[in-house]
């Protein structure tokens, strides 16, 4: 019985450590990884501040539309969360093309420092917007100075600079285009690995503490 408890405790510990990571297998990147050079950020995205970026479809992987065209579109900006302090408030993230737009709300406590954090648009698939003149807008809804996140900008986006609070910036937004694909096989695979690792470790711990005969 006590070894069952050890196994469960170990499993819970590993689930706590890797749960988010495994859940993120749901998303796959449809674009080449962005290059970040001379990074800058526009300051905290408090209420009313905006960052706009025209999406650069030339960065899509060549097979992205064939493989992921019908999948839900997500955009993952690269956030600065100020050392993961407890940020609060929310951001509205909008994608607009000439004939459609979709919006999602992001809780600012979620993004981690210097990490991509995806925002998914359930109403849009990749093929519905890819290749079109699409603008991503990130707008502060109710964030306060000292507890809001911001996004990183990079100089490596020649030709497509961002607009910050309506004014043209020298740098472009760092973002990744992702799609929701599910990947249940890989998620299950990771969970099974977690379970079996916990099981083997439990068996080893049991073997170590028992006074068995060789």
């Amino acid at each position: 019985m006590r070894w069952l408890v050890v196994f469960l405790a170990l499993s819970l510990l590993l689930i706590w450590r890797y749960g988010d990571r495994i859940a993120a297998y749901d998303l796959e990147s449809a674009s080449q990884e962005p290059v970040i050079t001379l990074p800058q950020h526009p300051g905290e995205l408090v209420a009313g501040r905006t960052v706009e970026q025209e999406l650069d479809w030339s960065r899509l992987k060549p097979w992205a539309l064939d493989r992921y065209g019908e999948n839900t579109l997500c955009i993952a900006p690269f956030f600065a969360a100020y050392g993961n302090r407890p940020n609060r408030g929310s951001l509205d993230v909008t994608i607009s093309t000439p004939d459609r737009s979709a919006q999602a709300r992001l809780d600012m406590s979620a993004p981690r420092d210097n990490r991509f954090y995806p925002v998914c648009f359930d109403a849009l698939s990749l093929e519905e917007v890819a290749g079109q003149n699409a603008v991503l807008t990130i707008r502060g809804v109710d964030g306060l100075l000292g507890s809001s996140v911001t996004t990183w900008l990079t100089s490596a986006h020649g030709g497509l600079p961002a607009r910050v609070d309506g004014a043209s910036a020298e740098h472009g937004l760092v973002y990744d285009v992702k799609v929701q694909v599910g990947n249940p096989r890989e998620r299950w695979g990771a969970w099974v690995l977690v379970g079996l690792t916990a099981l083997i470790l439990t068996a080893l711990a049991r073997a170590v503490v028992q006074r068995g005969k060789p």
């Binding site: 796959e28 079996l196 068995g212 060789p214």
Partner: protein
């Protein structure tokens, strides 16, 4: 539950994990050269038991590709250069599967069963090897399990590839080799020879391991001269039986006993490129070490036949971050412990020198071995001191030269790694001197591992260097090539830690860190890599 049973269940856990990865996670084709290994196994499953290098081709329908996407030109299967034993076994599940379907996606994964089960058997055999040699059984189990927590070992066990099976056969050969050194029962010598020839029937790298193993066994054999000679011939003949058959076949077909696949004609033969310059400028040891821990991917990214036009070459990634750093640091500490152990051995040998109660003169009724004669001759304080100083100076010089001339990546892992690898000549030389002087079998077992490892590594290094001069690019820098000598190297480290009285709980903690690193590697690097490159 006794420890053998615990070891069995732990081994079964590893086999189960490898089976799960084989059937549900590792993409088909994402094990090094899996397309060739699979094609070889399938040739056998379909009745062609000895496909010939140069004639054998890759299966055109790999991984269930529909006929309209089959490659039009047959591709050479260079994997046919390997001896056939692993493929004979891997062909079994495939032949059974093909009775039901030749194209079902699961069929292409069936030969992987052989590798996955080999991993389970390997963990158990390693546990038996370590415990029979003198590592406390609990710690022996932890050491054996740590091997399974090397991501590359698990990766290879989840694919169609001969390395884990070779590792298993080498562990079995090492087990009987150790038993013979301990009890001098001649059947153990022949069982060693049998397993080692089977290892030689699996991969030619085992031939390199076989030579010093047989030599040491004869060096340690305690028989009257004529019996010694008879068994020397007998054991050598059994050990060499398969390699000789394979060499004869190579001679018959290709005119060279060691014939292997040549990757095109030598493209740019390099002149005036010294060995030290080669070591300084090329990431040789760095790659071997990094690839030992984890080099993932191959051609498995190409999974959608309709998008095959985007498939070009291979996609691979090395493990990094926490898992790699944790492994490097743990290995560095273990190597440091081994150096401390060597110092303790020499202190003991100095004290024991001249004391004629050592095992060399113990009256157990058996004649002396060559080792014992030498030991009796050398076990004098002045000789021990002289040999120790000689080993220390020459070994330190060689290690320093290696350290200064070894390519090293900047950063902590690179420096730790460089230091750790650079002590190999020093450790091997001192260990080599130690086996001449030590009267305790268990102590010699802890020394032979370093000697064998260094010998094997030197041969590999020479091959890599010669290959570089020939082809102009670095090849063969795979840590998995060390699997044949790993059982005895691990045993040496285990016995050293045993001698240093490292507490079992610390072993458990280290195994726990390796397990966490292993899981971290798969969850945060390997599976995301599969997803990020998949077409």
């Amino acid at each position: 539950m006794d420890l053998n049973r615990s070891a069995f269940w732990v081994a079964a856990g590893f086999a189960l994990m490898a089976l799960y990865l084989a059937f549900f996670v590792t993409p088909p084709g994402d094990i090094p050269d899996e397309s060739g290994h699979f094609s070889y196994a399938r040739d056998i499953a379909r009745g062609d038991f000895f496909p010939l290098l140069g004639e054998a081709t890759m299966a055109p329908d790999l991984w269930g590709r529909p006929r309209e996407y089959w490659s039009t030109e047959p591709r050479d299967n260079w994997i046919a250069q390997h001896p056939p034993l692993y493929y004979l076994i891997a062909a079994g599940p495939l032949a059974v599967g093909e009775l039901f379907s030749e194209t079902h996606p699961v069929v292409y994964r069936l030969p992987r069963i052989a590798s996955a089960l080999s991993l389970g058997a390997l963990i158990f055999v390693l546990y038996r090897l370590f415990s029979v040699a003198g590592v406390k059984p609990q710690r022996a189990l932890l050491l054996a399990a740590s091997t399974g927590f090397v991501p590359m070992v698990m990766q290879l066990a989840s694919g169609t590839n001969n390395d884990i099976f070779l590792f298993l056969l080498s562990a079995l050969a090492s087990y009987y080799w150790v038993r013979f050194l301990q009890d001098q029962q001649i059947r153990h010598a022949y069982l060693f020879a049998l397993w080692v020839t089977l290892a030689g029937a699996t991969k030619m790298t085992a031939w390199v391991f076989m030579a010093p193993m047989v030599a040491i066994l004869l060096f340690e054999m305690r028989r009257p001269p004529w019996a010694w000679l008879g068994h020397a011939v007998g054991v050598t003949a059994v050990a060499l039986s398969f390699p000789i058959l394979w060499m004869s076949r190579n001679l018959l077909h290709f005119g060279a006993p060691f014939y292997v696949y040549a990757e095109g004609a030598p493209s740019q033969q390099i002149q005036d490129y010294g060995f030290l310059q080669f070591m300084r400028e090329q990431p040789v040891l760095d790659s071997i070490f990094a690839h030992f821990y984890g080099l993932f991917g191959f051609s498995g990214y190409c999974q959608t036949p309709e998008l095959a036009q985007y498939c070009d070459g291979i996609r691979m990634t090395r493990l990094g971050d926490f898992p790699y750093h944790a492994f490097t640091d743990i290995m560095a500490l273990v190597v440091l412990a081994y150096l401390v152990f060597l110092a303790m051995v020499f202190l003991r040998l100095r004290r024991a020198a001249g004391n004629q109660t050592s095992a060399a003169t113990a009256g157990d009724g058996l004649p002396r071995s060559v080792q014992m004669h030498l030991q009796a001759l050398l076990a004098r304080p002045v000789v021990v001191n002289g040999l120790f100083v000689f080993g220390l100076l020459v070994g330190l010089g060689a290690s320093l030269a290696l350290y200064q001339n070894n390519f090293s990546r900047p950063g902590m892992a690179g420096s730790t790694q460089n230091l750790m690898m650079s002590v190999a000549p020093l450790a091997a030389l001192l260990a080599g001197i130690g086996v001449l002087l030590s009267g305790a079998v268990r102590e010699r077992l802890a020394l032979y591992g370093a000697v064998l490892f260094f010998f094997f590594g030197s041969v590999l290094l020479y091959q890599v260097y010669a290959g570089y001069l020939d082809a102009g690019w670095l090849r063969g820098v795979q840590g998995r090539y060390f699997y044949p000598v790993l059982p005895l190297m691990l045993l040496a480290l285990g016995l050293a830690l045993e001698r240093l009285r490292v507490p079992t709980l610390l072993w458990l903690l280290v195994t726990g860190v390796l397990a966490l690193a292993f899981l971290d590697a798969f969850v945060t690097q390997v599976i995301p890599f599969y997803l990020s490159v998949r077409i």
